[in-house]
């Protein structure tokens, strides 16, 4: 153990503890800005400086490990003046249009200015240096005028996601964070995962909003607006209304959406169950019919663009099943439209997603199997919360209401789609039935749960040993994909039968559209909530869902039928590692 004093308070900590952590233990909060618990400390901002007796220079608390016997002071005149000067300089180079900024009231820089006590900015920015806002991406907006160069976005893009869309460019006062040729994120390898928008402490990176268009549709009496909500939303929306992270708000969410004026409130969980039937049938077919193995899941659009860019040689292994969002979109303008006798051109299909990449996915040119754009607008968790606040809805006070028929009923297998490992677990629950005709006794497949980056499990299906792997976060995905690539190259086959990949750390509960101020601890709590809901539901296997049985009986025939293939399956492209554009071979 290491003994140090923080502001004359004795504290004992383990070796390798930083000053920041030791101070916390002693009851002192050191202000930080570039520091984030999920990232390696980089010390780029300098706000966390402290004095250490006997040291000539101030130390950055986030990245300095304590040494036995150190006397550390976190609140001296020198420390206070230094922090203030640093912050004044950051603010001087920052567009301070706070009331109209998307981050207003949720900005870490704003909070820091309040904490440190900045009353006057001595330096002002030259208005000539105004930079263009990057609007080229379908998912993410980048405003360099707000950027404080903390580099969190670069870190998450490089270290956690290994996409490397963003980097520092130029030098000195001209330094900007931008994509490769500064031609905009829409013309780069960015996979739209939106983790940069979650890690950005200010309003420099955020989702491209569709709020106005959705209000317009809701207020148009000619339009029939249907809405679907992803599995993860019910575990995170509450946070936007001051509820504890991980509060389950499924029923309140349905009630709130109805009160906002959506004409039909459905649930993406319904098509998550449908995905399992389509994908599960595909997996079983490939295993028993000698098809390409492993089957890799296809629900995560960030992962899909990543695969098309960096692992196009594996595209034939990826399931052809569309994501639940896109299955829902196609069915809302066919199955539902026909059933209700509503012309599909009058239907506006809206989805609520924890995801920014879904905005890109819904605009992919092939996602028009209903002969219309299958999903019209995608709203992130943050956007729907903003709309609810605009509508004066207090989520906490909402009653619990179910979603509407015929696309609202769901099983526990669908709800766990929102957590890493959930899709695999749901698929195994049904695959077992599809192969053996019997039900799996214990549906809890805990080996694929939890926050380990790569998880593996082996399931015995009547003597057939199914080997599966699960990865979340694209850096972790690379580990398993490189292994599979090697195996396929050297041995002609892989040890795995099926692999689940989610682009975001934690799965969808850690998506790029989640509430601001998130970290791994919150992502974990949201995931646990989904497993709790799973346990509480009457059906826990997708193939048991009565509404799923109905849609096959009335409309689709059977899983992987011709009609199902037309509406619920898709294909992939190869993309350039330079600009992310489709390459036609």
């Amino acid at each position: 153990m290491i003994k140090v004093t923080i502001n004359n308070i004795n504290v004992e900590v383990k070796e390798g503890t930083t000053i920041l952590e030791a101070a916390k233990k002693a009851g002192f909060a050191i202000p930080t800005l570039c520091y984030h618990p999920d990232l390696k400390p980089k010390g780029s901002c300098g706000i966390c400086v402290v004095e250490v007796e006997g040291m000539p220079a101030l130390k950055r608390a986030c990245m300095t490990e304590v040494v036995n016997g150190w006397n550390i002071h976190t609140n001296t005149p020198l420390v206070r003046t230094t922090r203030k000067t640093i912050l004044e300089l950051i603010l001087a180079d920052h567009d301070m249009d706070c009331p109209t900024c998307i981050k207003n009231n949720r900005c870490e820089l704003q909070n820091l200015a309040a904490t440190i006590g900045i009353s006057d900015i001595k330096y002002r920015k030259d208005p000539q240096t105004k930079k263009d806002i990057d609007n080229t991406s379908l998912s993410i907006v980048r405003d360099p005028n707000k950027c404080i160069l903390c580099e969190r976005c670069i870190q998450v893009c490089e270290e956690i996601q290994t996409v490397n869309a963003l980097a520092l460019s130029k030098r000195g006062s001209e330094t900007v964070i931008t994509d490769a040729f500064d031609t905009g994120l829409g013309n780069s390898v960015c996979v739209n995962c939106g983790q940069c928008t979650v890690f950005c402490p200010v309003g420099a990176l955020y989702e491209k909003s569709d709020i106005d268009k959705v209000w317009e549709a809701i207020n148009d009496p000619e339009k029939h607006v249907v809405v679907q909500e992803a599995p993860a939303i019910r575990a995170m929306l509450g946070e936007e209304f001051g509820m504890e992270p991980g509060t389950l708000v499924a029923g309140k969410m349905h009630a709130a959406l109805r009160r906002m004026g959506f004409d039909a409130v459905f649930d993406t969980n319904f098509t998550a169950d449908l995905t399992i039937l389509e994908e599960g049938t595909e997996i079983v077919g490939r295993i028993t019919g000698g098809g390409k193995l492993p089957v890799i899941t296809s629900c995560s659009p960030g992962w899909i663009k990543f695969m098309e860019t960096f692992y196009p040689h594996l595209s034939e292994y990826v399931s052809t099943a569309k994501s639940p969002q896109q299955m829902f979109g196609a069915l809302s303008k066919t199955y539902y439209a026909e059933m209700k006798g509503i012309p599909p051109e009058k239907i506006v299909s809206v989805s609520i997603m924890p995801c920014t990449a879904k905005k890109f996915e819904c605009k992919r040119p092939e996602m028009r199997d209903s002969n219309y754009q299958d999903v019209d607008y995608v709203l992130t968790t943050r956007e729907i919360a903003r709309m609810m606040r605009q509508a004066g809805i207090d989520l906490k006070e909402m009653p619990d209401e179910p979603a509407d028929d015929p696309m609202g009923e769901y099983t526990g297998a669908a709800t766990i789609f929102g957590a890493t490992g959930g899709v695999m677990e749901a698929a195994l629950r049904s695959a077992y039935f599809l192969v053996t005709g019997r039900e799996l006794d214990d549906v809890d497949i805990v080996a694929v749960r939890g926050m380990d980056g790569v998880k593996e499990a082996e399931i015995d299906v009547d003597g057939l040993k199914l080997k599966v792997a699960v990865a979340h976060g694209l850096g972790n995905a690379r580990k398993i994909l490189d292994k599979v690539t090697e195996q396929l190259k050297n041995e002609g086959k892989s040890e795995y039968h099926a692999i689940e990949i989610m682009a975001c750390p934690g799965g969808c509960v850690g998506g790029g559209g989640q509430p601001w101020g998130s970290d791994m601890a919150r992502r974990t709590r949201r995931g646990e909530t989904l497993y709790k809901e799973d346990k509480s539901l009457p059906y826990r296997r997708s193939h048991e869902n009565p509404s799923i049985k109905l849609i096959y009986e009335k409309y689709l025939g059977k899983p992987n039928s011709e009609k199902a293939h037309h509406l619920l399956h898709t294909h992939y492209y190869k993309r350039s590692k330079i600009d992310g554009k489709v390459i036609n071979d």
Binding site: N164, L166, A167, L168, K170, A180, F181, S188, K577, I578
Partner: protein, 165 residues
Amino acid sequence: MDSEHQCQCAQQNEEELYPKLEEMIEQHKGRPTELIMALHKAQNLFGYLPKKAQEIISERLNVPISTICGVITFYSFFSTVPKGRHSIKVCLGTACYVRGGQQTLERVEKELNTKVGGTTEDRRFSVDVVRCIGACGLAPAMLVDNDVYGRVKSTKIMDILKKYE
């Protein structure tokens, strides 16, 4: 018509250099830490760093293209603009600056219709600024290739540049 023809020739020549680039960077293949060496070689070969050369280096060395662009824009030595056959460097060191270096520069920019860091359309000249070439006694000074010109009057500039084809 003439300039168009010339331009295509230049591009054709550039295309012919790519096999040479592949050869030169072969030893750096799969070694991201040797990026700057590879960029130096490419710049020596082409006179600047064409986008295609950056893409090839990214692929061969296994360095993300965003990192390469970051390095190129950080170091002023690297250029993404083709260099002219002759380089003009106008000195803006203190002595030259006080004695009218700025006016010299403005005149050069105006006469050649190109800005600092740029190259004329016919690729005859590139224009850059330097901070002191040690010829303060001759201020304002200007370099064309390796020739030093002192006490440059803006009216004399075109006479000087005429010598370089």
